[in-house]
Symmetry: C2
Subunit: 587 residues, 2 copies
């Protein structure tokens, strides 16, 4: 692996900052150039009068497509979904001052919690307006022009108001670097006049940094030495548990290479599902604490050594804190630290450590042959034999497992869907997308828009959304944007009469968990497929109907946008959700 | 008018706070009792696991109906619309921790800007969870449990986290008093366990204060004396300009009585439209600065004395700051101050001043007879003669003017609708609802839900929404909640192919101002009227069709929910919007 020369970069950077060159580019265009550099080909948002000027620049910019969303929250969700699929790059969302940016803030906060690199650009009053502070529309009416930026600070890693033309380029570079390196959202307030101010484009000669700082070499060497010793002592009985940090900090390739080189059995947490292909021969399945299948549980909890990669120990990612990992037998790899048993090695991040560790272990004789003697459970899910035709949660997910294809992008809403999809063994390189920490219901609709755009850019497979009839009502309008953008997602709506995940928790039969039963087969006609020629809608009542649909080659080809209403029982949930909830456990 | 004895209240309050009584009521129920006292009969929101416990209390509480909305932003908008109609009372919205409350924050910020008393209650982690700070879902993942409350502080007048059971009742009383007296939103974070903690209900013996603090008596007397002198000098040529503060600070009755007693001609700003009935014989129409009709403009700008009531001088409320009011001839009445020419009388608020001033002026001989000699323009809007059948903006609003009935509640979305409705003379006691300062597009859909519920509670007339095909896409799902709640709004969708108000400003033909053309006649079937029996949908292409519909007595009776798509030109806008915009001025 080549070592980036930080000194060389730094010297070049210092040189650039002292060179005075003629202004030759609008601040807005500079920003677009940098976004493009970070992989942004599609840019989501909603127009508003504080961003229309910048939008002219976007519209005229050849490398980036504008994708107007129906509302700002959905646009933020879309940028998040886009960034998740385009690992190592960023997503971007544009909103207008106040009304727009605040509507998006839950989407940005979710990206923060789930470590997704989203750039939030908000239109901002001009420099003169900021000075005079007239009582403009979209202001609080009390002269506090900065209140929204203050709110943004709470939910982003870095933030800037581009009020100084002279530092605008440096500020853009600073926050965008943070976005991609820290994998967290950032906020840029862009005053209407500054978007058009001319600056030098000279800084563009230096690409933004894309790799983390190098590890502390001595600490790294010590850590590798220590881990190698533990591996040797484990005598082949080493398990790898992959979590969300692996994909967010862009070490997917390093992890794949590491597990292939060593032969260690590899498992995933819910948020780490599909980071390593679930079709990989040494992949053993999902670890969810107490509700884990016993054969998988034993492999993880009894391994002589567990190597945990990018762990995020939230309630729903750990079987509600029932994971039993023995620290005395665990190595934890993170973005900037390594923890070996009880000792932390600061400044030793996994991006550089993993390849070196793999290299050291590959030269230690006999390790791989020993690890390969340790069997890995087969991660399967058989169709249950049930006596009736009602589509049960248990049957559904097993059946969906047969339906999935390699490279599919599978998006599961917080609710029965996210729990259910976890159980499905994914085909090779199918990708799982969910919001297990933040859990904002409705998120998947916006996220599917962004993910589908990204999947098309990357040439991935079908985009398949699973969502309940309650959750989809929060954000439904964005299906219309998918239609306009000629995307072809398959949208499965699990119609079980309201908020089932909440019924499992509390108020099983309370009216507050009921939602209106919509006319799902009419939905796409209402949302823009006026003559019904550009989408297909289905209603599925029985297992036989579901089978027939999923066996239909035209349906599977997903050549138009398709919406499937699946009618299910109100009181039914996937196993893990039943097991962990007061009412669900009685279903 | 009776004078509240603040000392008596205060003594009683001090007594209560020192009385120790047995806990007999859950904190959640105490909160509901106080909300009910402030006029809350319907409570909007979305369930989530941090508020389900409290929701059980709501569900069991006889005096308050739970109205579950499709999403939190819409729920906040609904609480805002509800509060606007129930002048002097409050609206309430319930969300869950993080994901829910942040989705609602734009609605709360809008209520702040527009001075609407909305109580935002957010579910919050239990005391133990706050102490241990586990990595729960809906948290930021970094242990900052208070980040959302910090955001709420920016957009509310008062806020509290009910962590101390001993002060919970006092804290509830404090923020709710602020809500109703300051007419601004407040925030209450309710930990899951505290909702069920038992406290004494003794404080409920003292009602929350509903009236502002008394005026400084000496300053008030001086102000009245000064104003009376100016009125006398004006020799009857006095105009009254009513603005939004009059309704928000609950002086509608005082204003009505004042203008009737004095006979002064009365006019309104856009945000003050309908505060004084537009059918009142001495009502002269709308003042919008430069775009005001000349005969009205002269009456306001040339009056020897102008009495301005509750003014809010925002851009869109003043014809983009083109209002020409001569301070040397103006008296401004506000909630807590009075400004006479250039002098401010602090502590002299309009609630108590107006009746006293009316009383003084009524005993000054000859004033009313003089004022009645000053003619007031007739506020009318004739149907234009146009040669084609296309429904123009100019024609539409005039025709709608003929359609309105007394006590109708008319809600106009920011866009061509809000500008267009301003021009319509309203029948007696018809109410105008719009969001002219905050201007968050999509707001009216949620707001209509709340306004329609409030209108039903108050026995008002029809609820009529005007919204564009672009704006409705932000928040469309809440039409479904109106259906479930058996509300009967008439929803006019002005279909002009996108964001027309933005086209008038910039990007006239840019793609970012285009939206998807939905299948509007199918909309209500998709949103829950599955068999099409509970709503009616219409498409109107021509003036003749519009006439026919508006003349139909069944349609006018509004006995079911009705949705009307009005097909209009893309490049057309009401006069005021055309006049003030770079592209609109060419249409």
């Amino acid at each position: 692996m080549s070592t980036p020369d930080v000194f060389k970069d730094e010297i070049q950077r210092l040189t650039v900052s002292t060179v005075r060159t003629e202004p030759d580019m609008e601040v807005g265009v500079y920003l677009l150039r940098r976004l493009e550099e970070l992989g942004v080909k599609s840019f989501f948002g909603v127009p508003g009068d504080f961003n229309l000027g910048f939008l002219d620049l976007v519209d005229d910019y050849p490398g980036i497509d504008w994708i107007g969303a129906c509302n700002e929250l959905n646009a933020a969700y879309a940028a998040d979904g886009y960034a998740r699929i385009k690992t190592g790059n960023v997503g971007a969302v544009l909103t207008t001052y106040g009304v727009g940016e605040l509507s998006a803030i839950n989407g940005i906060a979710g990206a923060y919690a789930e470590m997704v690199p989203v750039v939030h650009i908000a239109g901002f009053p001009s420099l003169k307006e900021q000075e005079d502070r007239p009582l403009l529309h979209h202001t609080m009416g009390d002269g506090r022009y900065n209140a929204y930026a203050q709110a943004a600070e709470l939910f982003t890693h870095s933030h800037t108001i581009l009020n100084d033309v002279h530092t605008a380029a440096a500020e853009i570079d600073r926050v965008l670097s943070d976005c991609v390196l820290e994998s967290r959202p950032v906020y840029i307030a862009l005053p209407t006049d500054v978007a058009y101010a001319k600056i030098s484009s000279y800084r563009l000669n230096i690409p933004l940094p894309r790799k983390p700082l190098l590890n502390d070499r001595a600490a790294e060497a010590a850590a590798i030495n220590e881990i190698a010793k533990l591996v040797e002592e484990a005598d082949g009985d080493v398990a790898v548990l992959v979590d969300v940090g692996a994909v967010r900090y862009n070490v997917v390739e390093e992890v794949r290479s590491f597990v292939e080189t060593t032969g260690f059995g590899v498992y995933a947490s819910p948020m780490g599902k599909s980071v390593v292909s679930e079709a990989y021969e040494r992949y053993g399945g999902l670890y969810t604490g107490a509700t884990t299948r016993p054969e998988i549980k034993a492999k993880i909890e009894d391994a002589k050594l567990l190597i945990s990669i990018g762990a995020l120990k939230s309630d729903l990612n750990t079987g509600n804190f029932t994971n039993k990992l023995n620290v005395a037998r665990t190595v934890e790899l993170h973005a900037t630290t390594t923890k070996i048993k009880f000792s932390e090695y600061a400044g030793v991040g996994m991006k550089y450590l993993l390849p070196k560790l793999a290299s050291v272990l590959s030269t230690t004789s006999g390790i791989k042959s020993k690890t390969l003697t340790i069997p890995v459970p087969k991660w399967t899910y058989s169709l249950p034999q049930e006596s009736d035709e009602i589509i049960s949660q248990t049957w559904l997910w097993a059946r969906i497992g047969q339906f999935l294809q390699p490279k599919d992008v599978v998006i599961a809403e917080t609710g029965t869907s996210a729990f259910g999809v976890l159980d499905i063994p994914f085909p090779d390189n199918a990708i799982f997308v969910s919001q297990i920490l933040w859990g904002s219901i409705g998120w998947t609709v916006g996220s599917t828009l962004g993910a589908a755009v990204a999947a098309r850019e990357k040439g991935l497979g079908r985009v398949i959304l699973f969502i309940g009839d309650g959750s989809i009502q929060l954000t439904v309008q964005e299906l219309s944007t998918m239609l306009r953008e000629d995307l072809k997602p398959i949208v499965f709506i699990l119609n079980n009469g309201g908020y089932t995940i909440e019924r499992a928790l509390r108020g099983e039969r309370r009216k507050y968990n009921d939602t209106v039963n919509w006319g799902w087969p009419r939905l796409m006609q209402a949302l823009g497929d006026v003559d019904g020629t550009r989408t297909k809608s289905y209603v599925v009542n029985t297992k036989a109907e579901m089978d027939e649909l999923l066996n239909d080659t035209g349906f599977c080809a997903a050549e138009v946008m398709q919406v499937v209403e699946i009618r299910m029982r109100m009181f039914d949930a996937p196993y893990a959700l039943k097991a962990g909830t007061p009412f669900g456990s009685k279903w």
